[in-house]
Amino acid sequence: MSRAGVYLIYGLAALALVAIGLFAGRFVLYLTMRVMLLAIFALGYNLLLGRTGLLSFGHGALYAAGAYGLGLFNLHVSHDPLLGLLVGVAFAALIALIIGFFCVRQTEIYFAMLTLAFGMMFFSLIWNLREVTGGDDGLIGISRAPLLGLPIGRDYQFYFLVLACFALAVWVIHRIRGSAFGLVLAGIRENHQRTSFAGIPVKNYRLAAFVVSGAFAGLAGSLATLLESNANPFSAHWSHSAEPVLVSLMGGLQTFSGPLVGSVIFVVLREVIERFTENWMLWFGVILLAIIMGLRGGVMGGLEKRLGRARAARPGGAS
């Protein structure tokens, strides 16, 4: 697809998102916010999985770090949402730095298992430190004070904060992928031995990717806490860590837009399927299977391949 075509699609998507904010009903508003939150989570996550080639099962903990970071700050220090978001993101990044420090020493399955272990430890901490975290009740009663004088108490107001954060995340992650750092991460995925023989301290770069993806998980978690007015311990559970994996896989690991498209599919599908049946995971599994078997490289990866083939087949297209 031409560059102009891509910009056109992103422009239209941005317009549609603004239009939803202005005109849509509460249900669509809420659903769109959930899509954007998951997309922030998954886009950041895919910097680690699709780009650096590291499969983490611990990002639920980092999402929860953002959620509880903002929640505790909101309840005990200040209601300012901007400061709260900053605290949430910073706390998630700090936890990512600590967990990552140990995990990036390993690769592949050992890395995945270590992140899983740290994630479960974080979950049990939240579960057991009742006085601080509220245990299984989570944190409740988190308020949405005005942001720089603008009210965000109502959903149609809060929506634009989510949209702004989402746009910022898309832009920043796009920049990172196109940077020297982004290229080095791709090199690590392709051949980490060769990357260290290029003079790159591979572990530090893995750690940096882990922290960046953790910070975005924290942003998603903090925003979700403001949206729901509570922080939920199950957001730290490893089953929640699987969400960005599924979303990235569905959308396409090797594409930038994959996690975006995957998030839309994930949230909308769940909404639709849950209307008809209780065990939505069963049907979701079937659809996931179809996508992975039928479209290798996810929805966007498959689409890209098809478009590329169409262009190559066009007479005079390539000579």
């Binding site: 920043v172 920049r175 990172i176 196109g178 940077s179 020297a180 750092f181 982004g182 290229l183 080095v184 791709a186 090199g187 392709e190 051949n191 031995q193 060769r194 990357t195 260290s196 023989f197 290029a198 003079g199 790159i200 301290p201 591979v202 770069y205 940096a208 960046v212």
Partner: protein, 252 residues
């Protein structure tokens, strides 16, 4: 400044009971094209792995430009100017030829950590990458994915990636393995030219005797983890012990 480029003192390495480096002592001088030969299992690959940092030594010390590098991790040795290429093709398969070379260039230029500036905007880096591609003769295929190159070109790219790190000392592990005769002549001429230009000192680990004797200023012969002969090609050719343990096999 009589300090050699690389000095190895009493280096040893064993895997269980198999001794692959047995108290090795030698020096490498800057600008001297050296070959390391020896029969299979002589310890050539182990020696390269230990010197470049993939394996740690059991005993002994390695000095690079007079500094002890025995304990340094790979990337620090590369940053100081000690690099290697690999016996099997070891590139970034899904990245373009240009990007393959760009990664080490970014590291050398200390730009690899720039995480917000588009990498395409690093004009200086792009020039350096193009210069490396010119040197190894892959400039015409800059945008081809590395996995789509012919085997010989992948080997050239391999050398290009290693050269892009601007090494002072570069180990080439069987640079002609799996090449056809034409490609072989090409790459040997390349190596000779690059060596003559004086920026990089090459050490070649080889199987192929023709390559070794036509190219080298100095030949070191390894056998069972020990250095049994060391000198100019003619001296090594005439050495009885070398013939016995190595060349004899070839002739037979």
């Amino acid at each position: 400044m009589s300090e050699p480029l690389l000095r190895v003192e009493n280096l040893s390495k064993a895997f269980g009971k198999v001794v692959t480096a047995n108290g090795l002592n030698f020096e490498l001088k800057a600008g001297e094209l050296t070959s390391i030969i020896g029969p299979n299992g002589a310890g050539k690959s182990t020696l390269i792995n230990v010197l470049s940092g993939s394996l740690s030594a059991d005993g002994g010390r390695i000095f690079f430009e007079g500094q002890d590098i025995t304990q340094l991790p790979i990337h620090r040795r590369v940053q100081r100017g000690l690099c290697r290429s690999f016996q099997v093709v070891n590139v970034f398969p899904h990245l373009s030829v240009f990007q393959n070379v760009e990664i080490p260039v970014l590291a050398v230029a200390r730009r690899a950590h720039h995480f917000f500036r588009p990498v395409g905007g690093e004009a200086e880096v792009a020039d350096m990458v193009r210069a490396v591609l010119e040197r190894v003769g892959l400039a015409g295929q800059a945008q081809t994915p590395a996995s789509a190159l012919s085997h010989g070109d992948q080997r050239l790219l391999e050398v290009g990636i290693a050269l892009a790190a601007r090494p002072k000392l570069l180990f080439l592990d069987e640079p002609t393995a799996g090449m056809n005769p034409v490609e072989r002549v090409d790459i040997l001429q390349n190596i000779r030219r690059l060596s003559a230009s004086g920026e990089t000192t090459f050490v070649i680990v080889e199987h192929d005797m023709d390559v070794v004797f036509s190219l080298s200023d100095r030949v070191m012969v390894l056998h069972r983890g020990g250095l049994i002969c060391d000198g100019p090609p003619d001296h090594v050719k005439g050495d009885g012990q070398v013939r016995e343990c190595y060349l004899g096999e070839e002739v037979r």
